[in-house]
Symmetry: C4
Subunit: 240 residues, 4 copies
């Protein structure tokens, strides 16, 4: 599948790569990413390329693990590195959503229960108000029986991106979620608070009383994420 003839979109600012590495570490440290899952960014020089770690646990990812892919998820210059089987999630999300520059795929632990019931995952906290319109749920059986429930080709990736539509988060039945945003701090914020909102909503649901979800007319993306990013990155990169 690697094709030596795919030209690279060129070198990337090391500070951006450092932030991509930090995003992997942050989401691992906060329990959103387990030994699998991944974070990618669109290449700043070419919207037809994206950057993603070689197949490696996110908590161990370093700058030298970052590989370049085209939107068919072919590696540009693999140098013998193994690519994630599910990289097609990223390629197809970038293809379908020109507004998206950062993508997370996770097995976010408390999100899983919402993927296997018809209990909707919606925002109950202002920090998670990006979830005010709810999360569509991707049923991979609709694309055909898939052993392991993995998204391992462009057709499956495109079906997932279609389920996502114009939303920030799609749930994947029995698997996890897909989170997209315009930049790294925002996609980390969304992946993290999808998990936290899921935990809080599970508790609220246990009260068996009506729930006041955040209304769409109250939703607002945080204007800046510099303060939280400073904290998350500092904590995640300590001793790295």
């Amino acid at each position: 599948m690697p094709d030596a003839s795919i030209p690279s979109a060129g070198p990337v600012d090391p500070a951006l790569i450092e932030d991509l590495v930090a995003a992997n570490r942050i989401l691992a440290q906060n329990g959103v990413l387990d030994a699998w899952g991944h974070v990618s960014i669109r290449h700043p020089n070419n919207p037809e390329r994206y950057l993603l770690s070689r197949a490696r646990a996110p908590g161990l990812v370093s700058a030298e693990d970052i590989m370049e892919f085209d939107l068919d998820s072919n590696p540009v210059d693999p140098k013998g590195r193994r690519a994630f089987l599910e990289r097609f999630i990223h390629g197809e999300a970038y293809r379908a959503r020109p507004d998206v520059n950062a993508v997370v795929h996770s097995h976010s632990p408390t999100v899983i229960p919402f993927t296997v019931t018809d209990e909707p995952l919606k925002a109950i906290s202002h920090i998670a108000s990006f979830l005010a319109c709810g999360c569509p749920v991707f049923e991979i059986r609709d694309v055909g029986i898939t052993q392991g429930l993995l998204v391992t080709d462009s057709k499956q990736g495109a079906a997932l991106a279609k389920t996502l539509g114009d939303k920030p988060v799609a749930l994947m039945r029995g698997h996890g979620n897909l989170v997209v945003a315009s930049d790294i701090p925002r996609v980390v914020h969304r992946a993290l608070y999808t998990e936290i909102n899921a935990q809080q909503l599970a508790t609220a649901l246990s009260f068996k009383r009506p729930i006041k979800y955040v209304e769409p007319d109250e939703a607002q993306d945080p204007k800046r994420l510099g303060d939280s990013w400073e904290l998350w990155k500092t904590q995640a990169m300590q001793g790295a």
Copy 2:
């Protein structure tokens, strides 16, 4: 909004600032404060001034981040530092409550479910007996639709303080809480045990049996908090 003509109430004992910094770290370390949220104290020399960190994640706050504000929440001498958008929560709490010298605003995770249902958050443990009379819930929609549910001006802050009344804790629907006390160790104790009591009450509620709340005639503030403060501060400032 900063007004160079606002005179400072003067320097503050570094030991008090150290305790304010410790309060930020303690509540961050114990998961009450996330990347946002804040702790303030009333200025010991002038009841019309309060001290609050510049806009920064509480887990990273240091002595040099502490700024002085008047009760309209204008910074006295910002020196280019950015102030929290929601500082009006503090200014209006100090204005409305002369007995209050320390204020916490948090997104306390297990408090959120109680803010979005009508399940009352009341004390089930003697350490949280300050909650024996329950917590009023602030509905920001009553002041007008607010994108992001943030308290960003004096009018909203005053409405929140009015909801608080003479209580130690007010819940903020879909957002978090406001905790007030006479001093730093007490406000830390209250913010921490509001969260812990919420966790324990959520478990007790799951049994679906009648609950024996702490009765108001049994409630008693701890006479001293020196032992817990020694532990919390020691643990929070390790390696700081």
Copy 3:
């Protein structure tokens, strides 16, 4: 209350004091003891004396904090050290139970919900089979209204010991528990697994299906606790 005329039962093997200190640290590290709560042992030379830390957070206790008390809970030689208000829990437990040589009083977090409902706390796991006969619940209101729900004199302590009877654990409504055993490793084991069994039982109860508790004829105290004690002590004293 300190009475200089109370003779000491004499010095104690430093290894025993070290284990008492370790017990404090272990239960703090494992979240059974918060900033309060305490662990004591009966004096090996005199059954009318017990050893308990001065008033200090258990996570910070060191050998020099250990004080000696008689069974009326008078300190033998306080040397200006402040004693726990609730030491009467210990004195009266030793008086009522000659078989007991170690006592823990805690605010064990997941035990609290069982103290405020009539849901019984019984063993569902073999490691907690000491709970197979259930836990009596102490209602301090039966001794008279008590602000703060604290056990601060011998009368209240004796009423609690009477509720305990011949059991290993008594719950204290809205407060925590009292755990007794023949030695330090065993009282630590019981305090720890009362909490863990409470967590597991809360989950089992949430299924709303019949529960198979450990039957009294299946209960068995572990014959030895050397392996767990080695682990707990090693982890708790790291860096101490």
Copy 4:
């Protein structure tokens, strides 16, 4: 019981022993193994022998603690080391299942609630799809009343292995579980994700809505576990 006449199957590659030690540490660090529980491997040179730590908390196990046993669970050369009372779980699992080369016995905390109710523990996440066919539950009372619920002889061990059948995981009522696999990384993966799936399923069940379990036709063992093993081992052996 030790019999000097049992010949050893010979020395084992230190890298395999290192992985066995790592497996103990990983499952302890992740809260699957508490102060008890154990991990073993079949001897690579002789299917009638297995390797298991001497009686010691898994979080403290080192290479020199590993002992060799025959399938009757007699130690080959104990050198005065004490063996686990419950080693018969391992011996009988290896006897009954020639396909198995690694065995874990744990008190996995969130598995316990599923052992004491008839709520089935089945996969809701693709990572735990080895649980798609459910877990049989071993009722030790069927073999006779057992104080402490421990499996301490070959007869009980064989009954447990019979309950396990050809499955990867058997639950043990009021006790924990038995997990088997073809190699160390796989048995660690299974023990870890049995716990995580139990946590997620408990949350899903609390919604009181129909659950979409992973269907048997969707189940698939991960083809490789190198990436997760690299992470788990790195984290567990830090500072070891």
